[in-house]
Symmetry: C2
Subunit: 521 residues, 2 copies
Amino acid sequence: MEREAAELFEEFKELTASEFFRRNKQMLGFSGKIRSLTMVFHELITNSLDAAEEAGIQPEITIDLKRVDKDHYILKHTDNGPGIPEAFITRVYCTMFAGSKFRNIQSRGQQGLGCSGCVLLSQMTTGKPARVVSRYYEGEKLKGVEMTFKMDVKKNQGLILERKAVEVKSTGVSLELHFKDVSYSLSEQGAYEYIRRTVIANPHARIRFRDPTGHKFIFERATNEIPPLPKEVLPHPRGVTADDLIFMAKHTDKRRFRSLLTSSLSRMSTNRVNEIQKITGIDLNKRPKDMKWEEAEQIVDLFTRMDFMAPPTSGLIPIGKAQIEKGMREILNPEFVATTTRKPKTYRGGVAFVIEAGISYGGESGRPVGEQKRAEIMRFANRVPLTFDQGSCAITEGLKSIDWKRYGIRDLENAPITVFVNIVSTNVPYLSTGKQSIAPEPEILHEVRQATMKISRSLQKYLRAKKSAQEEAMRSKVFETYVPVILREAAVLAGKDVPEYDTILAKVTRKPKILGDAHDE
Amino acid sequence: MEREAAELFEEFKELTASEFFRRNKQMLGFSGKIRSLTMVFHELITNSLDAAEEAGIQPEITIDLKRVDKDHYILKHTDNGPGIPEAFITRVYCTMFAGSKFRNIQSRGQQGLGCSGCVLLSQMTTGKPARVVSRYYEGEKLKGVEMTFKMDVKKNQGLILERKAVEVKSTGVSLELHFKDVSYSLSEQGAYEYIRRTVIANPHARIRFRDPTGHKFIFERATNEIPPLPKEVLPHPRGVTADDLIFMAKHTDKRRFRSLLTSSLSRMSTNRVNEIQKITGIDLNKRPKDMKWEEAEQIVDLFTRMDFMAPPTSGLIPIGKAQIEKGMREILNPEFVATTTRKPKTYRGGVAFVIEAGISYGGESGRPVGEQKRAEIMRFANRVPLTFDQGSCAITEGLKSIDWKRYGIRDLENAPITVFVNIVSTNVPYLSTGKQSIAPEPEILHEVRQATMKISRSLQKYLRAKKSAQEEAMRSKVFETYVPVILREAAVLAGKDVPEYDTILAKVTRKPKILGDAHDE
């Protein structure tokens, strides 16, 4: 009855990344029809914005979503980025865990799964190949290539079906994918809302979208400023682990550990290295590969006790308070907006981040529920909308912990308010594969609270002023109604003519309104 | 200022699965100190139980967790399974996406990430190698090998440091791993509770656990029955997609599509295949590789309209109501238990599953919060405790939707009640990588509700009977207290002797208690 080990291992095998995710597509966020389509929009828009900005181009995206049949859609996604050199096209779209974003740089994508995940989903639901036109410069020459290909799941690579050179006039990528078992929805978690939020957080981008009913939406730029290009920054000593040091040591081309340290970490001068050598007694002239784990641990432990300058923040490019305000005004058309961008802070000892927040009131703020408006929380990471898994997210937790009554908001849930929060970091601590929620690190929670409380105070001032203006108006109205009556009756009693009172009365009662926006510095 | 494509692709590279998860360990459930350790326990226990059962052995696991230093632990995990042949040891522990569980069979693990994930975490936090002793039969001969190895993350494979043959007396695997940045906790999400719940759902397993304080827990078997071995079942036609058919066709060794269908799907007879050929007009004698996507879609579409017998349920091995009761009695020592195992149902048209549930009251049911007891929900999938992400889980949702007041439970939250729910399936629809919550498929929600409502009715009867017994006892007590007084006074009034009333009174008042357990069939 008992079976021996060899028999049980007969079926032992190894999967490729594509095979693995084909069996576990929910790990890519593809679960449910609405969410699946939103994730596709997310991956493609994210890639287009990153590519254009990296190349120094003002992003422009055109999306056309056609419904062919119930649950069967064709998505055409075109951008004006730098394009993809021919040799990389199938690697970008058909090889999972491949990408150019594995650096310590602030970018929207981080994982090398986005585009290839969309191609996988398309293929799994429709069996149709992907079609790509890439337009790119090779030296001075503008080239164009059109390809159709499938993903060879067992090999985790592309299988080109057709390929031809095409005439092109500008750079960019067009991608055409078929999808079934997905669904376009106007709900908060649907694809349309995803685009709307993207535009709020990216006022420098233009997005044209044609929805399945044929309706065309044009989200115009609210600003022409291209955000400065984030720079790759070296990791801060407080942000590395012993494992990171050993990993760097194993794969470096430096000859000595001391030069590895100064060239791979920020805030690490020769003086600092000498100090480390002196305190730990470790010979830092040794070859990187000879570094022992215990030594790496000693060094990392010392890092936590040394005083370092905060991480360089040149790598962090926040949207900026003025730009957030433009984005919110453009899309929400509110009565009132206040925004703030906090100074850079660090979490886990050495990873820099910035929290920015905006709050708007009235207009199209809040989400409509029947005739009512409910408060709406828009979460972003590096300008990317986070649509799902809000429950466990640091932004949600931070906002929930605020005592809104102190800011004159009795019932946040039922107020026409939109709260916008963006976290900017080279290393956003996501909680899950779907990249939809942020780990509640204490420093992040603190900054979310501080940012939101600051702009909430501005809103409170506005609401107070609005209320007292309304009361003032009410008093004026009473005055305006009764004064003429009194004047007339008094004139009759006195046996005189009724005096000309209109001009004087207007001067007394019609005070200029004191409404307006609060701006903090 | 604009940059060309080639420049942006200079950094393009491909990661191995190990490299990817090294950068994204939270995707393996390793986030937070307590959760990380619980996930390690989960992966190792799960693997040991699966291996022993597959080999037809009654599982016995010994775990020793030593605290070496603050946050630094050494974990020794030993099982009595069939062992791992030497050639597979580093593949099991150092190659991600490798495993023997990628079949359509009910097993606890499914993803080929468990053991290797633990080795990765150990290495990332301590730099220490893993030590394994594997004891296994090769033919008639019992072999033993001891190895220490590291994971070569860039290659996604093991790097053996030491290896020697050892004398052994029985089969099994012992694994020793170091961990830092983890934490042992007695909380609901901690490692101890994980073991306790495992034992409830696996009353045939014996687990010995020595905690960091040196305290030894021995969880004895509540039963000696080994659960029958689940059989691999062919997928049901209603459970396959067009992509599945094309994938099978591409990788089969069958010559004709008709034999692929009959040999790869359950409930698929030659008659059935003829019927499919007739209705669709597709020539099923063609070679599998010539099957077109549109044809596969036509066939899958027809599957949804044909009448099939439900999927074979020989692949599903529930714990069974009697065994669940034994498990709950052994660990919770309750006043009352009711359990049920539902008949197999299917979700998404063709994936078979079974829901079983238990409810216990009193004793150590519920979770203690200070002096009070709160209701406790224990979720399981194929006997594996689900500890995190309860919010979005089908089991939680199903239970929340029950109107508990109808079952005599005014305030579930504050009752000394434990609710146990297990889903059994060859294909548990997990929501996330961490395998901690179950997709709320309508059929699963329905079954969770039905199972729980059934046992809740038994609990209601018990609580009613208990209440009326208490009232009865109260009345008896009143009777017992006053009758003698009346008798004595009456005797005095009548000038007679007080009669001997004890025996008669006892007969009238001390009714046998009607308390007991409800058993449903």
